[in-house]
């Protein structure tokens, strides 16, 4: 199968998933307790005439499938309406919070690779030795530490006790030096568990590659151990790290929801929690749908990258 054909087929598989995700997001309005109109007026008492007008305006008097299609049409052009609680445009609210979350996520992702990949290599090369055992313990600790607790402890030690960082984000633009300095602790908090996962993955993938016949060949023809590991084994084992990048997006989003709360970071995760607390359903829908679409697209990109890096995968299906 050619790459283009594979890409097309893989992209088509995402379409029903995306449609399903929109359907689930759409259903929030109906699954939430109370009449959808309550959600739209922010649970205020309203005049019946106003209510009728709102029903007509939001197509609530039409059949469910028609409402879904109309909603979908709006969503496709990123039109989520206005929040009944704050009265602000939902899409603009989300857009305002998006850069902060992306900055945090990218920083944590970079940290997880910077720590996880080298540590995994060291563990795999020294299989069964002290380094390997240490990496195992570190990975377990990283996975078992609740991220919100780690964040609180870091905030206490470096913010309250030592006073090296502020305990709330500075009132500065995102790209400023103060903001970057403040971002250090949230990045560590969010990146720790991710780094642990990358390290274990890197270690096991490298172990597998080291047992392959081509490694024996490379050693037998007299290549130095360095060349064998860094030129041959590393390249092949990195593919495994690429394949989990999609999973990592979901993992980091989950973590960001909590970490942003700990550090009062003005991102989407905090917006989601605030919106749930205020029962601001359109904002919840917007954030959740945006997250779902990002995860689906990330998985699509990962699969395509995988197909480019490892052509065998294209013939497997």
């Amino acid at each position: 199968m050619s790459l283009a054909k594979y890409a097309l087929r893989r992209a088509l598989v995402s379409v029903p998933v995306l449609l399903g995700a929109t359907a689930i997001t759409f259903s929030f309005v109906y699954l939430a307790p109370g009449d959808p109109i309550d959600t739209l007026v922010g649970f205020d008492a309203v005049d019946p005439a106003v209510e009728e007008a709102l029903r007509a305006e939001h197509n609530l008097d039409r059949p469910l499938w028609e409402q879904y299609l109309l909603w979908l049409r709006d969503v496709l052009v990123l039109e989520f309406g206005t929040s009944p609680i704050t009265g602000r445009d939902v899409a603009a609210t989300i857009a305002g919070r998006l850069p902060a979350t992306i900055a945090l996520g990218v920083a944590a992702w970079a940290l997880s690779l910077l720590i996880g990949v080298p540590a995994g290599i060291v563990a795999a090369v020294n299989y069964g030795e002290l380094e390997d055992e240490l990496s195992r313990v570190a990975a377990l600790a990283g996975i078992a530490t609740p991220n919100f607790w780690l964040g609180l402890v870091l905030l206490f030690v470096f913010g309250v006790h030592l006073g090296w960082v502020r305990v709330t984000p500075p009132d500065a633009p995102l790209a400023s030096l103060e903001m970057l300095w403040f971002l250090v602790l949230p990045t560590i908090t969010l990146g720790t568990a991710s780094a642990a996962l990358v390290m274990r993955l890197m270690r096991s993938s490298m172990r597998r590659e080291l047992n392959e016949p081509y490694v024996r060949t490379a050693r037998a023809k007299g290549l130095s151990e360095r060349t064998v590991i860094y030129k041959h084994v590393l390249r092949n084992s990195l593919i495994a790290v690429v394949t989990v990048a999609g999973l990592q997006v979901a993992f980091l989003v989950d973590g960001a929801v909590v970490v942003e709360q700990v550090f009062s970071w003005p991102g989407m995760g905090r917006l989601l929690v605030e919106a749930v607390g205020r029962r601001d359903v359109p904002v919840v829908q917007g954030v959740v749908l945006l997250i779902a679409v990002s995860v689906v697209l990330a998985n699509l990109l990962v699969d395509l990258a995988y197909a480019v890096l490892d052509p065998r995968i294209r013939y497997d299906r």
Partner: protein, 363 residues
């Protein structure tokens, strides 16, 4: 330097026993001796027993297999430590406060012991926000409640949510995964596309959405974690069932006219369920973490409940005032439990599938 005559003493491949009748018979494919083709020095006994389950002689029964798993699990020191941590935390939370059932005017005390010195919900048993002392080993929180008692009792919420949510998720995921893999066709498509779609939502985000819809409370948190938890079991079991359904013994059962339902329940699922058990064990840790995260975000149990995550929700403001003890101890409790569960899960992985000792699965 080679020896002139062949030896059976050392070397990577042992050739002893090659002339025995049983080995000769195995060449004809009639009966295969339960001896691994090669073994490392030092643990020949292990290697001999740990052949793949499907290569075993049929006389090896299920009890023997479970005993093998238990023996391998026990010999793994890390797993034993993990098991001890988990068991210890379970015992502590059971014996933290007396358990009473009252029905029809009668109160029956099931468990009379009380490890916790104070009622976890009672305020002002000590000064507000006091640090650790002999009277209050973990200090007191802002309302003057004893943090030590609250951490002990908090285990009941966290651990029971973890156990119940995973058990219920298995009850949903295992049948759906088994049916998808065994029946195939449009049933498979429908179930797996649903799983794919729900996988588009990250675990915690979906749980938050469900809590947003259902509201707070113990059973709503459990429901949220079940709604997100069954996906991985269904996907994993389907894959296993697909490969098991190809086996000869399934064909044989079909040829004997055994109903599909019986084949699936008695022959396919029991052989496919091992990885799901490992996954479920590891997931208890994830579920406890997620429940605590929900509690921390204020979306879990009612505020003020002595649940580990909910206790941390008020911890931020306490930390800012320098009261570290309110936050640190519930966090350590969560950490210990999740660590224990992960050690047990890793031990189970090795015990259920000895081959994975070399390629330990990455979660």
């Amino acid at each position: 330097m080679t020896r002139p005559e062949p030896t059976t003493e050392r070397g990577r491949i042992r050739i002893e026993g090659f002339d025995e009748p049983a080995a000769a018979a195995s060449l004809e494919g009639t009966a295969r001796p339960n001896v691994g083709p090669w073994s490392r020095d030092g643990d020949g006994e292990d290697a001999a027993r740990v052949s793949r389950p499907d290569e075993r002689t049929p006389t090896v029964g299920r009890r023997r297999r479970l005993a093998d798993v238990w023996r391998r699990f026990r010999s793994n020191r890390a797993a034993t430590v993990g098991f001890a941590i988990v068991a210890g935390l379970v015992l502590v939370s059971v014996f933290a406060r007396p358990i009473e059932f009252s029905a029809g005017g009668y109160a029956v005390t099931v468990q009379p012991f009380s490890l916790a010195p104070y009622d976890p919900a009672r305020p002002a048993v000590g000064p507000s926000n006091a640090g650790p002392s002999l009277a209050h080993p973990f200090g007191t929180d802002w309302a003057g409640r004893d943090v030590f008692s609250r951490v002990l009792v908090g285990g009941r919420f966290s651990l029971s949510i973890g156990a119940i949510a995973v058990a219920l998720a298995l009850c949903v995921g295992v049948p759906l995964g088994a049916i998808a893999g065994y029946v195939g066709g449009w049933v498979d498509e429908a179930i797996m596309r649903t799983v794919d779609t729900l996988y588009a939502f990250p675990f915690l985000v979906l749980a938050i959405a469900v809590v947003a819809i259902l509201g707070q409370g113990y059973w709503n948190v459990v429901a949220a974690l079940v709604a997100t938890g069954w996906l991985s079991y269904a996907r994993l079991l389907r894959g296993e069932v697909l490969s098991i359904a190809e086996r000869e013994y399934v064909d044989a059962a079909e040829a004997l006219g055994i109903p599909h339902r019986t084949i699936l329940a008695r022959h396919v699922v029991p052989n496919a369920v091992a990885p799901v058990v490992v996954q479920a064990t590891l997931n208890v840790g994830n579920v406890v973490l997620a429940a605590a995260a929900l509690g921390f975000l204020g979306l879990g149990l009612e505020p003020g409940t002595a649940e580990w995550g909910t206790m941390l929700a008020g911890g931020r403001s306490a930390l800012m005032q320098g009261h570290w003890h309110v936050t640190v101890f519930p966090g350590i409790a969560i950490f210990l439990f999740v660590l224990g569960i992960n050690l047990v899960g890793d031990g189970l992985t090795d015990a259920l599938d000895p081959r994975s000792e070399f390629e330990r699965r990455v979660r």
